[in-house]
């Protein structure tokens, strides 16, 4: 264990040794998941960490990244790169600013603990069920399409955030939710992950659908970064990442090269855009 820690620390130090100070950008409220993940990146940079710049939203962050001449990174996501029908997304960045996929967590299909009817997989597959999900179009469209295949009788109900769909689950307004992290009072029935998590069956083993594997993922983007190809692996090798308390989010697509990861992101966004075009 000590050897492993020493090795990873040495690797981290070596990886960042020749770097200039790197700034980070946060564009969400402190205390949230974004803040926690960004803190891990900052701590993994050690003495090479410069300053944290806080801006109001992803569009402002994108503008900052386009204008800065200092090494600067930010947490990002495929959703920010998404656009449909040729419309422009104010948060979208050029491909050269993509550094790599950082972390992801699969969505699960969960129910209220104690709800025996909802605990039955047949009910999920055939019942007149209601499923609460995040109302963001980027996340909702593939999920709605997937649920329509999983159970044609199911209705997907959009909620602004987990602050809204979790109480709705407890109140019995909906039968299931689709979160990435499971809270006390909730049990899950299936995962939208690639492989089984906590012995949960995967939806991909039940149906064949382009979105049967769905994750909420974070990428890292940046400007003027000296070593974009190894940046993410350096963070993943750091003690801060390995010893993080909340292990819900794990490394994602780390076996792919940066170019392959970018292709993967482009392809998933194209699939979602196609699905939206189909619905329209």
């Amino acid at each position: 264990m000590i050897k492993k820690l020493f090795a990873t620390s040495a690797f981290s130090l070596f990886s960042f040794a020749a770097l200039a100070e790197t700034d980070t950008i946060l564009f969400s409220k402190p205390g949230g998941l974004d803040d926690r993940l960004l803190t891990i990146i900052e701590e993994s940079l050690g003495t090479n960490f410069g300053n944290r710049i806080t801006v109001e939203n992803c569009a402002a962050a994108a503008q900052y990244l386009s204008n800065t001449d200092k090494p600067t990174v930010s947490l990002w996501g495929p959703a920010f790169q998404f656009s449909e029908n040729g419309s422009s997304n104010p948060c979208a960045l050029p491909d050269e600013q993509f550094i790599g996929f950082f972390a992801a967590a699969p969505f699960h299909i969960c129910y209220k603990e104690g709800n025996k009817q909802a605990a039955n997989i047949n009910y999920l597959r055939t019942g007149d069920v209601t499923i609460g999900a995040w109302s963001n179009k980027y996340a909702l469209t593939p999920l709605t399409s997937l649920i329509a295949t999983l159970n044609p009788n199911a209705k997907v109900i959009p909620y602004k955030s987990s602050k809204n769909y979790r109480p709705a689950l407890q109140a019995g307004e909906i039968d299931y939710t689709v979160p990435t992290s499971v809270k006390d009072g909730e049990k899950c029935l299936a995962t939208l992950g690639e492989t089984s998590v906590d012995n949960l069956p995967t939806v991909s083993s039940m149906i064949d659908h382009p979105f049967s594997i769905l994750t909420y993922s974070y990428t890292i983007v940046g400007a003027n970064v000296d070593n974009p190809d190894t940046f993410v692996s350096s963070v993943h090798a750091s003690e801060e990442w390995i010893n993080r308390k909340d292990q819900t989010y794990t490394s994602f697509l780390s076996d792919l090269s940066r170019a392959e990861q970018l292709d993967w992101q482009t392809s998933i966004n194209e699939n979602i855009a196609e699905k939206i075009a189909e619905i329209n």
């Binding site: 409220k29 402190p30 205390g31 949230g32 998941l33 926690r36 806080t54 801006v55 109001e56 939203n57 992803c58 569009a59 402002a60 994108a62 503008q63 998404f82 449909e84 419309s87 104010p90 948060c91 209601t130 109302s135 963001n136 179009k137 980027y138 909702l140 209705k155 997907v156 109900i157 959009p158 909620y159 602004k160 602050k163 809204n164 979790r166 109480p167 709705a168 407890q170 109140a171 019995g172 307004e173 809270k183 006390d184 009072g185 308390k245 909340d246 939206i276």
Partner: protein, 444 residues
């Protein structure tokens, strides 16, 4: 124990600060205190929050009454009725009755929680989208009907408020709405400058026209008067029970919380007063209804967190995140174990709040005899600074200032109107929009 006392005292002080300073709400204090909160014992984080919210309610009301400026959006009815009472020379009455109403509502909500604890599940199941839609519809209709404007103007103002709130990036449609390509507008128009320019400013101009040449008449308050006020509170008993009940139930609803229940309690009380033909601007019953429902909701909004482990407000989500970051077991059992201490702290802070409020009145004696114009000029500067400050802490100083300057002439033109429908149209927009989306998904 020492940490508890320190946390409690800090929260008391910060609660006073967040109440007195416009634009700095409880959530802003929670965010600013985040670096300290993460080192506290988890129970004390909840204690910090409940003390802060409770005290913030008492002092937010005082600022609204005396200066006509808001602590938060739910202060709009307090400003409308309370500041008018202040200008009529009933400032002390307004503050003390508000403080007692807040205290009564706090105790009422505690009793209500104890009574309904075994039935919490049954009660909670009532809060579905349909019920929320009915409450929203009822509150919005009441707001429009009982405003002093012509109904058509009130409807128009309500629609304008909704329109302004929709500006920004719409996640549901993955599209922008009237951002004109300005990056800072993607996260929408902020509430604070809008509230100041389109509600506070027209109200202050209106008050200046009515009372401009007069001097402030502020009657000092004596400790012995507490008993007289308590006796006099009897006449408002019905109002207190109604508003506390609405505030308590409103606080339970995710997304509604006490801002919504304040509007509901206020609108219903205004309806009663109009029906009894005793309503004029500066109505004590309406003020008591607004202030009482605020405080009742401040406690009950914690119930989903304490008994279901679900954070329903920004501050509660922050607490939840802190616990998760520290690898704490964020279980329902743990939250429930804090219940007794939360209740004790809430009652303690409410009791302290009611006494400090009395003391604070005497501190305001210096206003006595001062010309209203001087006070309003001072307020203008203060509000300008606070807009700048809130803009700065929200990383968009330019946006706050530009929006303020753009809205300034509109606010001046609106001085003849009751702009509360516009403000609540803005505040309720998100709820209305989300509820509409869900109703559509459920039934169509």
């Amino acid at each position: 124990m020492i940490e508890f006392l320190l946390v409690f005292c800090c929260a008391l002080l910060l609660g006073v600060l967040s109440g007195l300073l416009p634009g700095i709400g409880g959530f802003a204090i929670m965010v600013a205190s985040y670096p300290f909160l993460i080192h506290l014992d988890p129970v004390n984080i909840i204690i910090f929050y409940i003390t802060l919210v409770s005290i913030d309610q008492f002092f937010g009301g005082i600022t609204s009454i005396v200066f006509g400026i808001p602590g938060f959006a739910a202060s709009a009815p307090t400003i409308y009725e309370g500041h008018e009472l202040f200008l009529k020379g009933r400032g002390s009455d307004a503050i003390i009755y508000s403080a007692f109403a807040s205290y009564f509502a706090s105790i009422f909500s505690v009793i209500l929680i104890f009574l309904f604890l075994p039935y919490m599940w049954v009660l909670y199941k009532m809060w579905n989208t349909n019920v929320q839609a009915i409450i929203l519809l009822f509150a919005s209709t009441a707001l429009v009907l009982f405003s002093r404007n012509n109904i058509l103007i009130s409807i128009l103002l309500f629609i304008v408020g909704n329109f302004l709130a929709h500006v920004g990036w719409d996640e549901f449609n993955n599209s922008e709405f009237y951002t004109f390509g300005f990056v800072y507008l993607y996260s929408g128009i902020p509430l604070f400058p809008l509230l100041i320019m389109l509600f506070v400013l027209p109200n202050l101009v209106n008050s200046y026209i009515s009372y401009g040449s007069s001097k402030i008449n502020f009657i000092p308050f004596y400790f012995e008067s507490y008993f007289t006020y308590i006796k006099n509170m009897k006449q408002y008993f019905g109002t207190l029970v109604r508003s506390s009940l609405l505030g308590s139930f409103g606080g339970l609803v995710p997304g509604l919380t006490y801002g919504m229940s304040t509007l509901l309690a206020y609108s219903i009380e205004r309806y009663y007063q109009i029906k009894k033909k005793v309503y004029t601007k500066g109505n004590m019953s309406c003020l008591i209804a607004a202030e009482g429902s605020n405080n009742a909701g401040a406690l009950t909004q914690l119930i989903p967190l304490l008994f279901l482990g679900i954070p329903i407000t920004g501050s509660e989500a922050l607490i939840y995140n802190i616990l998760e970051t520290r690898g704490m077991p964020v279980s329902i059992e743990w939250f429930q174990s804090t219940f007794s201490l939360v209740i004790f702290t809430f009652i303690l802070s409410a009791t302290i709040g009611v006494f400090i409020a009395g003391k604070y009145i005497n501190f305001l004696k210096f206003l006595n005899g001062m010309s209203l114009v001087k006070v309003y000029i001072f307020l203008g500067f203060l509000l300008f600074i606070m807009i700048g400050y809130t803009g700065y802490v929200n990383f968009s100083l330019e946006k706050y200032l530009i929006i303020s300057f753009l809205l300034l002439p509109i606010g001046l033109l609106l001085y003849r109107f009751d702009t509360m429908p516009l403000i609540y149209g803005f505040v309720l927009h998100d709820l209305i929009y989300q509820t509409f989306i869900r109703i559509n998904a459920f039934y169509f």
